[in-house]
Symmetry: D2
Subunit: 278 residues, 4 copies
């Protein structure tokens, strides 16, 4: 039966990669529905994302692709399957709510396994959508102990990505290491401006004329992970920092949802501390 798959390859650049890879598809009589490549010349690294349709066995295709690309290649052949996500949140509903509405609409492209929060504020909203809500308070707990509880809860689920929908706690290296390239965060500034706490207050103090939002993969370095999407909103002297925060929420939720959509469609490669997005 005819199948469809997304083929993602990244490897050291070499002569003839497009030819060799497209030959594999051609020889197997696969249709290329969509194809994009990029070569990072500075890192000498090749990236390719192809959507193929036809008759194929995933493992055979994988093996054959392996035989034509450099040894260091990272190859994925991804068949259509609804991905699963776990959401972490705190008290704010805008980013979470945007994802919930898309989910209900069938527009999210993922199943939401659960929402975990360090406050109980969002329970009512989440449970209205029949999604499990786990309240794990952090009060009186060390960061490590609280996080261990969160991880224990997370690990009850199978999932592809963890989405921090305004989760206002810093993650430890242990947590980050446990889910490599799987954690997506929304930071409420156009990074690298206003790293750290309360970016809107920082923006207000600095008197900027634009504020922004940044969705990125989480790495050990706070607010330093590979950026997936960014957007900005104009502000002026009439904005208090609360006004900036209010205006910024729209940017935050749209940028997070856009980044999540790109990731769920397997359009995002991590390239060192950057991303390649097709």
């Amino acid at each position: 039966m005819e199948k469809r798959a997304r083929v993602l390859i990244d490897c050291e650049d070499a002569k003839g990669l497009v030819y060799k890879i497209s030959k594999v598809f051609y020889d197997r009589d696969l249709n290329i529905d969509n194809n994009r490549e990029f070569v990072d010349k500075e890192q000498n690294r090749f990236f390719m994302r192809t959507v193929v349709t036809g008759l194929f066995d995933v493992n055979e295709l994988l093996e054959e692709l392996k035989s034509v690309v450099p040894d260091d290649a990272h190859i994925r052949v991804i068949e259509p399957k609804t991905k699963k996500i776990v959401l972490l949140a705190t008290k704010e509903s805008h980013a979470l709510g945007d994802i919930l509405i898309r989910y209900m609409d069938g527009d999210l492209g993922a199943d939401i396994e659960c929402v975990i929060a360090n406050h109980d504020t969002l329970r009512d909203l989440v449970e209205r959508f029949d999604i499990p809500f786990h309240y794990i308070p952090a009060e009186d707990l060390s960061r490590e102990v609280h996080e261990a509880k969160v991880m224990e809860q997370i690990d009850q689920y199978t999932f592809d990505y963890i989405v921090l929908a305004k989760y206002m706690r810093i993650l430890t290296p242990k947590f980050v290491k446990a889910y490599p390239q799987q954690i997506i965060n929304i930071h409420h500034s156009f990074l690298p401006a206003f790293i750290g706490a309360n970016p809107y207050k920082q923006a207000f103090e600095r008197g900027v004329k634009i504020i922004g939002a940044t969705a990125h993969f989480v790495t050990d370095d706070l607010d330093e992970g590979p950026i997936i999407a960014q957007d900005v909103i104009p502000v002026n002297h009439r904005f208090s920092w609360k006004d900036m925060q209010r205006a910024g929420r729209d940017g935050e939720k749209i940028v997070l949802s856009r980044a999540l959509s790109l990731v769920l469609q397997d359009r995002v490669f991590v390239n060192g501390n950057k991303t390649v997005i097709f």
Copy 2:
């Protein structure tokens, strides 16, 4: 000696085109520096732009490419060469001036052969840059007669593109036909809003909150040609239409220069009444 060329192909879509074309490059031991493709599924049309380096004869490469793609294919192998443009203008200096500054800076990527205008206003500016300025007044002349004089002047030059840098006259089908896909215009609205005369006045009357600019290839249908680039600028109730015009000028010049840059880099394919831009 090693050469570099841009290879542009557009043709009916068919199975294996990426493979077949990349095989030609591979067999000739050419390096692919940059490669982008697109398939317009609705029109069943394939577009590809590849930058290759290596040892090759242009005609041989062209012949070999022809042998692997559908008969209707339009193939260009373009070697590095500074393109030439002719500018048409009227009285306003912003779009023209932006191109002149880029030209002087070596940033334009083209030689300016001359400026032709239906007013003498811009002579001083143009001649400061040692560029021939031809004043061809339209007063008391029929459109046809005036245009014949303009064409006569234009045809003194060899050039790749005619750029209408706020040339405020409508071209006849005869003119348009003489330079197919070679005429680039900047229209001072985000088309298709405000087609025709004085778009800023129209925008003011309508009370819009954004104004824009559109660079497009000129076809017989006024303001209906394939769009290359567009941008917008926010406005509000405090803007008179003159204010909109003033604010809009920045958009116009940037959009025209950006479109021109894309065209000069051979990044723009015309696809029916649309463009494909790599």
Copy 3:
């Protein structure tokens, strides 16, 4: 007891209006918290929005203001009170959902009285928020008969504004007349481009590089009412019209919510077929 009110005045322009109006506030010992004026010179019309705090009787203040401004003045002294809205929708959830999440969050600045829809699709979503949902099918009914049923339902409620959250039916002049300057619509293009049905398909056919959304008051002329807010989203040749529609949804919901917020804060004056927004 100290009170707070928004004072909105629009009238024929005349010398000394700012002085005379601010004198009323000064003589009554009211604080001006915020003050903005605008004079439309073309229409010779004055607009002013002032937030005052202090001790005052609304009717007395109103009378005194009347005595210092031209006879045609439209004066409102609005005390803080949560406004009420009625939502009309069809099948799409994004614009409606965005308003629901803001409502639940306490961020909307209005109470939602009910949602009325010509399809039953959104019932589940709406009822999860404990908001009355009225399904009034249009099938087999003339526009007039269906609308009469909708109006009958609407008139069960008291409300300040009717918000068309992607209500995909054209309203008759009778309906529009019944709720003057009270109906807010979101149109899925940057008006006046792509008036009428399926703007995304129109945008796709035209090959534009930006798409947009426009929130406006509804008047008798379809898509011609005073514009409150607009925004745009960049697109390119890779977008099908379905992709444009998907991308455009974010713009639509943000623009509608932003327009609604401005209206609910009494920041929007209608000025002929335009708006003045403070």
Copy 4:
């Protein structure tokens, strides 16, 4: 004879300021053409810009205004007069060229007294516009000695503002102090991101998806002065840092020219380390 003036007032906020100031205009039978105020509640500071027309003596008006506002008030009554600017540049022509074209067009709203540069590269361009060009090389000179020469040259001219059109040298506190709130700079990033040298390289290394430009008044703290205008440009993984630089130039020149225009129209108040812009 009827005159026109811009009245700019900033002072500690107090009750009745709008009333008292507009009373002065009313009593003198002056027309208010345009009026905007703002109160910075955090700093308890009042800002007002009014355009008045009528019969008045500037000094008398000034005295009368002084008598109704707090003692700390900074009042300016500015009659129409073409302002004068001095430009500092290095090698790049885009920002300088944009200003030159506007100047030639009569669109700048200022006379250019001269261009001073630490390289001779731009001489040809500048002299084509009949503007004095002073080349003051910095090679083999200490910062202090070079700057003393620049100041000596500057002080040959009378001027209102010094515009740094991509002047790639850091100014000493002595220089900054000599021209308080008179020096406008364009920084090639959306500050406070990428302070310091080569922001595009920094942006490239960080993998951002937007780059920007910031026009600001120069203060002692490098890149920390009050921001006048900012804008951003989208980029992606295909951009080298040279591409970012090229794309960023358009933003730089537009932002600088926009900021300069606001300043020349006396629309910009400095408020601590921020600006209030009417």
